[in-house]
Symmetry: C2
Subunit: 261 residues, 2 copies
């Protein structure tokens, strides 16, 4: 499963072609078209495209949804409409219920990260997540159609999460598991990291000027001061271009007369 990110959806049409291997997002009685559009946007952000709508309050299609989808039209166009939850999930094998609060139900409750891991393990196909309406959430009859509950851990003082925000968090956890982006990376444009010879050239240039100007005149302090100054530049992970810029700076400050104006 890991390692599919780079191959994932380079274009919107490819994103949709991936459908069938990705979990379905099923909205039960969604109220606001704006929210349906934002759900579509969040889904496509994370490579999901199988959107299913059960009895949307304001009918379907819905103009408001197009506005907030911000270009994720393909998800809206392929959205499937159903009269019942049972019909919407008939082809699925593993269905989770996304709920915001504790229910009077005995069921396994998982975090979004755990939910994502389980869906990845199942291969994505045949999996789905039910989301209830903005006002009411899921009813217990719908929850009884699902294997597990997925609940987003939030600030216990304020757990009201917008529908599209809930979809985003689950979809993002799913996306992340196949994403290969390094946790931390130095990106550089039109240059390369300076090598140590270039960096030493900068150090020696600066130190020789500091010697001439008397900044390093106290002999016993000189070694520590030099180390401290060098460490600042080391931490900056300079590029070859930046080393040249700083040598220009030293030259400018030492060789050219100050302009009076």
């Amino acid at each position: 499963m890991a390692g599919t990110n780079r191959k994932l959806a380079k274009t919107k049409s490819e994103a949709v072609a991936a459908a069938g291997k990705t979990p379905a997002i099923i909205l039960i009685e969604p109220q606001l078209g704006e929210n349906i559009g934002m759900v579509a946007r969040a889904m496509l952000n994370c490579g999901l495209s199988d959107l299913r709508l059960v009895r949307p309050r304001d009918g379907w299609p819905n103009k408001q949804a197009v506005g907030t989808a911000s270009g994720a039209d393909i998800v809206l166009e392929n959205a499937k409409l159903f009269e019942t939850t049972e019909a919407a999930i008939g082809d699925l094998k593993f269905v989770y219920a996304a709920t915001a609060r504790d229910r009077d139900i005995t069921k396994e409750v998982v975090t979004p990260a755990q939910n994502a891991m389980e869906i990845r393990r199942l291969g994505g196909e045949g999996c789905g997540i039910l989301f209830g309406s903005e006002a009411m959430g899921l009813n217990n009859d719908d929850i009884a159609l699902t294997s597990k509950i997925v609940m987003v851990p939030l600030n216990p003082g304020f757990t009201s999460l917008n529908l599209s925000q809930a979809v985003l968090l689950l979809a993002y956890e799913w996306f992340k598991l196949a994403d290969e982006t390094p946790a931390s990376e130095l990106r550089m444009k039109d240059s390369r990291p300076a090598d140590k010879a270039e960096l030493l050239g900068l150090f020696e240039h600066l130190e020789s000027e500091l010697d001439s100007h008397g900044f390093l005149r106290i002999k016993e302090k000189r070694p520590v001061m030099v180390q401290n100054i060098r460490n600042v530049f080391q931490r900056a992970d300079m590029t070859e271009q930046e080393v040249r810029t700083f040598r220009g700076i030293i030259k400018s400050l030492t060789k050219f007369p100050k302009k009076e104006d």
Copy 2:
């Protein structure tokens, strides 16, 4: 750092009292009040409350923001207004720039999860994240005021993320690191897990009825069939109440005559 979740914000006022230890969210020239409100909501969902606004397009306060904050008013009320990015971050020590696309800048780029880990390591205090306007993102002058870039890895075919969605993903990663919710947990109300004696009572009750009704009559197949049936019930992790219900079901199916109507 870990283990502070249960102590985190039981009420909205406590959520705000936690400020100073949590990173600041700084919005540069946000355009829509609706988005500012949704940012406030996403922040409070994740226990953040230090919102700073630099030159919001439609002035401040903004009625639209109150509507979409859905109760996170406390974050809006305490939001601070600034004329310049420099003024907004003057008291901060570690500032990240949230950007959606690659920039022509040499800088370390981290994921939201890495960003969260670094901020936790720094203790939260004195940390902040800059977000640009909906249309333009951050400009390079603002990025030059920050230590690192944080970029959300997304479907390369569709990376347009709503402002509040971006804030939510970063805030959620931050929240998660101190959250103690178990990845998976069987929650049960008004009952307890059945013990094995109760479960065996159910098995033997069912098997004796199946024997009487001839369902297990093929002697060489009986052990495997019994194992299969028992395994289904084992996987269900039944409560004591559920075991009693199922014994009632067996009794009902075997002892009472079928009602004709």
